[in-house]
């Protein structure tokens, strides 16, 4: 266990380094922020000056050296656009994203696992068909459709919740509801499929022979056996949310990391891109370690 964590920490750190190196060089192949930052009619002089100020005129390898040097001093550089430390900008946004991801994934997991298991209990039954149908439609519908229709209906027509923004708990309702739908559909299907197999195994019969209630047969005996693919997919969906839900953030004016990342990419604000990747990557790496630990906890036959 300790050995596993140690090994994982090392290999994750190496991955992170590789990731940063790759992003550093690759992102710089996509162009120069100068043209995007300065007005279109800016003189060559102003451009050269801008490059010099932001160190963009130096050879790439020197820039990289400086970057590494700064990072070692815990300085992630300044955002060109925002003229602020990039890490500060990213953490501000990540705070929102993290909350959104945690709340959403918790709700999704609970709902999808419960309903998916119930659907699997009576395959082809009414509940199964209804759950499958609606979850699939939700999962396949374009998210902005759902978002806009929800705003028009719940905010404009009914006036129950604010259209967008942050501030009160009510502001969270729609973004979470819309974010909920796709992972819910996907996870429900994975749970359902995995549970169909688990529910037909012999050990569930043993449970039945013991007089265990159907509820426990499903959620205690079969579910744990069916959980491996489920937590994997939950992890994948959570990672997607941690990387930022761009559409939702855009529509609901949610100051998360997804929109920040997109803007920074489009503006070639490299320090912010790198800081954002670093922060989300660490979050995702930690999550994956937890998931791998969960495998071993869920299934004692898996040992690392």
């Amino acid at each position: 266990m300790k050995k596993f964590l140690f090994k994982r920490a090392i290999s994750s750190a190496i991955s992170l380094t590789l990731l940063i190196v790759a992003v550093f060089f690759l992102s710089r192949l996509t162009g120069d922020p100068t043209d995007l930052y300065l007005p279109i009619d800016a003189s060559q002089e102003a451009r050269d000056n801008f490059r010099a100020v932001h160190g963009l005129d130096r050879p790439l390898i020197v820039q990289f050296g400086n970057y590494v040097w700064d990072i070692l001093h815990l300085d992630f550089g300044d955002s060109i656009r925002r003229a602020r430390p990039a890490l500060e900008v990213v953490l501000e946004a990540f705070k929102w994203t993290l909350q959104l991801a945690l709340i959403t994934m918790t709700l999704v997991s609970v709902a999808a696992i419960t309903l998916g298991s119930l659907a699997a209990f009576n395959v082809g039954g009414f509940f199964d068909r209804v759950a499958t149908f609606f979850s699939l439609i939700g999962a396949a519908a374009p998210d902005f459709w759902v978002a806009i229709v929800a705003i028009v209906f719940f905010s404009l027509t009914l006036g129950w919740v604010p259209t967008s923004g942050t501030g009160t708990a009510a502001h969270w309702v729609l973004p979470i509801a819309v974010l909920f739908i796709r992972p819910f559909g996907l996870i429900l299907q994975v749970v359902r499929g995995s549970m169909i197999t688990a529910l037909s195994s012999a050990y569930v019969k043993t449970a039945r022979a013991k007089g265990v209630t159907p509820k426990k047969q499903i959620f205690v005996h079969a579910l744990r056996n069916a959980m491996l693919p489920v937590i994997t997919v939950i992890g994948d969906q959570a990672a997607a949310l941690l990387n930022g839900a761009v559409v939702i953030e855009t529509i609901f004016g949610f100051p998360g990391v997804g929109k920040l990342m997109i803007d920074s990419i489009l503006q070639r604000d490299f320090s912010v891109i790198l800081a954002a990747i670093m922060v989300t990557a660490i979050a995702i790496f930690i999550m994956n370690i937890l998931i791998d630990l969960a495998y071993a906890v869920l299934d004692p036959r898996i040992r690392y």
Partner: protein, 477 residues
């Protein structure tokens, strides 16, 4: 609160630095609300009004003297004097700061500010600028203590000060008691940021916002709240006149005739937009409303192309039609329609929609299209009243975005730039005329924007709303 307004902007403010106020999203919050300028452009008639400078006179040799308003205090309590102006100029033009205002309006010139006394200052430009007072309408004044780095707490002489900035969420401006001018009605303004057009528009009926400066044409359906106003943007296709077959004037004429401009109005482009004949807005100096819009005539266009073909012009060369995503509402559809219209002349037009970073490479020299003839769709914004901000870049041989190189045109531009007074207008008119005769571009529209204003307010957006939103002009019903 009765006297509070909520304004939903389409983009988050990345900084609140006054010297970046020429960026429209920053300008809408800061310009004339927090930071004021020496002069102010009256967008209705193109005249120049006093603001922090009460008057100004040309001293000759590129030097202008400005007499500053007295009794003005900054929101941090310090009083306004000529040292502040001098510092603001240095700061805005400083190479260390790369301010947008400096790069955009003061590129290629050196300004020297010499305070004469506390309330008088002389500003000299090299080379001489006949329109220096107009340029000063862009330069935001900050106190002389302001550090030489981007500030996060803007201080200005305007009627409001920034009291809160929750990054990503909102910015709050509160009315100052010690403003030198008339007390505005609005006491507090909250700025929210919503990128999505439909959501932004919905915020007014939902009661979450009072003013939404930019809504999409499609959402502008409520006459009581939605206002259309010219937004000083002009759309056009820049033609690479140096590359065959576009170097043939018949081809350029054919392109101009092939566009059924009227068909766009009220469909993809708002009804209220007007057909463009030249690069600047109709209220700018020298604007010639009498220039004719090339008439839509497909047969004639086809004939011209055939004629050129007969003369050995390589009309079958693939011509790139480059559009920029998100440039203006419906841009993709407009470009698709243009591609079809232009193709009907018999030319070989290929549409390419690109992201802004790539588009700039097509638009500014050296052109990314290289040897391939290209038509680059662009939208030009000149709300400063004088064509000088446009014409050199767009038409001179060395102009950064110029697709044409014509000696006579170059001469006309140089002449107009140096003129002052009434002759200046005439000189510009000649430039417009020449560009028109050369079919240097395919002009499309002077665009309009839409804003939604809650019925509770008495406020009519105007052309100025594009770059600033003066809270003091908002009245409460």
């Amino acid at each position: 609160q009765e006297n509070d307004v909520v304004i939903a902007l389409n983009e988050e403010l990345e900084t609140v630095e006054p010297c970046m106020a020429s960026q429209s999203n920053i300008g809408r919050v800061i310009l004339q609300n927090i930071s004021e300028t020496l002069t102010e452009l009256n967008t209705d008639d193109g005249s120049l009004m006093p603001r922090l400078a009460e008057s100004w006179e040309d001293q000759g040799e590129g030097t202008w003297r400005f007499n500053l308003r007295q009794g003005v205090v900054f929101s941090d309590g310090s009083s306004f004097d000529s040292a502040d102006v001098a510092h603001s100029i240095t700061r805005t033009l400083s190479p260390d700061l790369t301010c947008e205002i400096g790069a955009k309006f003061f590129g290629g010139m050196t300004l020297t500010a010499t305070p004469v006394d506390d309330n008088t200052i002389e500003i000299t430009s090299d080379p001489a600028q006949p329109i220096l007072p107009l340029l000063m309408s862009t330069l935001t004044i900050v106190p002389s203590e302001t550090a030489m780095e981007f500030t996060r707490e803007p201080v200005g002489t305007g009627p409001y000060e920034m009291t809160e900035w929750n990054v990503g969420q909102d910015i709050i401006l509160t009315r100052r008691d010690d403003y030198w001018g008339e007390q505005p009605e609005v006491a507090k303004a909250t700025y929210l940021f919503r990128t999505d057009d439909a959501v932004r528009a919905a915020m007014v009926p939902a009661g979450e916002a009072d003013i939404v400066p930019l809504i999409s044409q499609i959402d502008a359906t409520n006459e009581a709240t939605d206002f259309a106003y010219p937004n000083s943007e002009t759309t056009y296709l820049r033609v690479d006149s140096n590359i065959a077959p576009l170097d043939d004037i018949r081809i350029r004429q054919a392109l101009n005739m092939a566009v059924d401009r009227a068909a766009f109005l009220g469909t993809l482009v708002p009804e209220a937009a007007t057909l463009a004949t030249h690069m600047t807005v109709p209220t700018a100096l020298g604007a010639d409303v009498d220039l004719g819009v090339p008439e839509y005539n497909l047969e004639e266009a086809q004939r011209l192309v055939e004629e050129a073909r007969a003369d050995g012009v390589p009309v079958d060369t693939e011509i790139l039609l480059v559009g920029r995503l998100g440039n203006f509402p419906n841009v993709t559809e407009v470009m698709e329609a243009l591609q079809q219209m232009l193709s009907e002349t018999g030319l070989n037009i290929k549409l390419e929609m690109v992201e802004v970073a790539e588009w700039i490479k097509y638009y500014s020299k050296p052109f990314a299209a290289g040897d391939q003839p290209a038509l680059v769709a662009a939208m030009h914004d000149n709300n400063r009243g004088d064509p000088v901000f446009s014409m050199y870049f767009k038409y001179a041989c060395d102009g950064l975005q110029s697709g044409i190189c014509d000696e006579e045109l170059d001469g006309l531009i140089a002449d107009a730039t140096a003129q002052t007074g009434d002759e200046r207008g005439d000189a510009w008119r000649a430039v417009f005329q020449k560009a028109h005769d050369l079919y240097a571009d395919v002009f499309l529209f002077h665009m309009v924007g839409f804003s939604r204003v809650s019925e509770r307010l008495d406020f009519t957006p105007s052309i100025a709303t594009n770059s600033e939103l003066q809270l003091s002009q908002i009245k409460i019903k």
